[in-house]
């Protein structure tokens, strides 16, 4: 957790996106949050149909448009130009959030400032910020069947983001199901945080050192 710990590489973000994408099942409807999580869209395993949702009002998000092909009226929740896949649909924001809040999304993949061992999430406002930017984060965490976090294990300064209790303003409590970081895949369970998988070359102890909450090994990890 301290700045002088030696760097542990683990997965690069595209690799992590690819790893996370493996856990998205055929036929799922999934929301990818603004920023890093949008990477996941590029790594859906072949043969699987995952229908991506964007909260500004569409299902069936496709790849980024070619340069020059951007349509100002076809953007994602990050206001970036996108494309729509065949089978996609458009609807209003109120319909889009009725969909989110009604529990219809199979998963939301979100970023995080902090996440607690109980699955509390802080992702919309830094402690000293004048302004928060909540957007759809609170709706997605409360409404989705599964909430997956996609994030660097530590901050740029090397501080733990996985903690016993969040000190930053909360997005929602008891909402996170699984955390994907550059170092590990960690399940949030009733009994606490369980490391399900380690990035290649990363040791459990190295993950624990960079985590401000107790971690357990999953059965699969114990067998190894």
């Amino acid at each position: 957790m301290s700045k002088d710990q030696k760097e542990v590489m683990g997965w690069k973000m595209p690799e992590l996106a690819s790893r996370l994408a493996l856990d998205l099942e055929d036929g799922w409807f999934v929301n990818l949050g603004i920023g890093l999580p949008t990477l996941v869209a590029d790594y859906i395993p072949e043969g699987r149909e995952i229908i991506l949702h964007s909260e500004n009002g569409l299902l069936g998000l496709g790849p980024k448009p070619e340069a020059g092909e951007e349509d100002p009226d076809l953007v994602n929740a990050g206001k970036e130009p996108i494309t729509l896949k065949p089978g996609g649909s458009y609807f209003s924001q109120s319909e889009s959030f009725a969909l989110i809040r009604g529990g219809h999304l199979d998963a939301a993949v979100l970023g995080a400032f902090q996440v607690s061992m109980h699955g509390d999430l802080a992702s919309w406002k830094l402690p000293n910020a004048t302004l928060g930017r909540v957007g759809g984060a609170m709706d997605l965490t409360v409404g989705s069947k599964r909430v997956f976090l996609f994030m660097q294990h530590c901050t740029n300064k090397g501080e733990a983001k996985i903690v016993e209790e969040c000190s930053f303003p909360l997005t929602a409590t008891r909402c996170v199901d699984r955390i994907y970081t550059n170092l590990a895949v960690i399940d949030v369970t009733e009994g606490g945080l369980v490391v399900k998988e380690l990035a290649p070359g990363v040791k459990f102890e190295e993950v624990q050192e960079r985590t401000a909450a107790p971690l357990q090994r999953s059965e699969a990890l114990l067998v190894k």
Binding site: S54, E55, N56, G57, L58, E70, D71, P72, D73, L74, V75, K79, E80, P81, L84, Y90, F91, S92, Q93, S94, S96, F97, A98, I100, R101, K125, T130, L131, G132, R133, V134, G135, G136, A137, M138, D139, V142, G143, P169, L170, T171, A172, T173
Partner: protein, 231 residues
């Protein structure tokens, strides 16, 4: 004979008064009724309460009204962006009041306003700073907040095509907050790229039925929104 078409944006916003509540559609630049916003900066009504998802995403959105000192209160979900400096300054000096609402709660409160529902319960924002001070109640073993409807004196919305009755269709994600805001204002003014004859829009594809639109203003079709990548 029904004719909702106005000849200029200035005419369309001429009767707006100080202290009015205004709903502004759009998500960033897409679906933003920027000509109506520009007309309102000319018209000059002050002490406005503005309801809009984004505040500083584009310079010709609500940010323009803020910089022009026409806004007293804002309700939004995303009060940041490249054009939010004037907002931050006015928040710090206390001349603007800001209410941040989760995007879904914001949309649902506006929908409730249009649908005659004064209040509803939602689990969104429970146990967070944005839920503080709100009435809580348990349903099915889960905590919920009581949220109140939002209505406007005016709504500025943008659509792709209208007919003389005021039926509207939208282009792609231009739709966003526009259809729901159209339902929740006393006077809804739609900025559209094209006005066609009654009957030219298929009745099954109309998104905003004529009853929700009071005034139409046609603007040049080439300006459909802006790609924000370079802002």
């Amino acid at each position: 004979m029904i004719n909702k078409k106005f000849e200029s944006t200035a005419q369309a916003v001429a009767d707006m008064k100080d202290g009015a509540t205004l709903l502004v559609g759009g998500f960033g630049g897409s679906g933003l009724p920027s000509h109506l916003v520009a007309a309102l900066t000319e018209q000059g009504a002050k002490d406005l309460t503005v309801v809009s998802n984004n505040i500083g995403a584009v310079s010709d959105g609500v940010a323009a009204l803020i910089s022009n000192n026409q806004v007293r209160r804002i309700i939004c979900s995303f009060p940041v962006g490249p054009h939010a400096e004037d907002l931050i300054e006015r928040l710090q000096s206390g001349t603007i009041e800001l209410e941040i609402a989760p995007q879904g709660t914001l949309a649902e409160r506006i929908r409730a306003g249009g649908a005659g529902i004064p209040a509803f319960y939602t689990p969104t924002a429970v146990n967070t700073e944005l839920g503080e001070g709100k009435e809580m109640r348990e349903f099915n073993g889960r905590s919920h907040l009581l949220e109140h409807a939002i209505t406007g004196d005016y709504a500025f919305i943008k659509a792709h095509r209208a007919d003389r009755w005021g039926n509207l269709v939208y282009r792609k994600t231009q739709r966003n907050f526009n259809p729901v805001m159209a339902t929740a204002a006393q006077i809804t003014i739609a900025e559209v790229s094209e006005i066609v004859e009654v009957g030219e829009i298929e009745p099954e594809v109309i998104v905003t039925p004529s009853i929700y639109v009071d005034r139409l203003i046609q603007v040049e079709a080439q300006h459909e929104g802006r790609v924000l990548v370079n802002e």
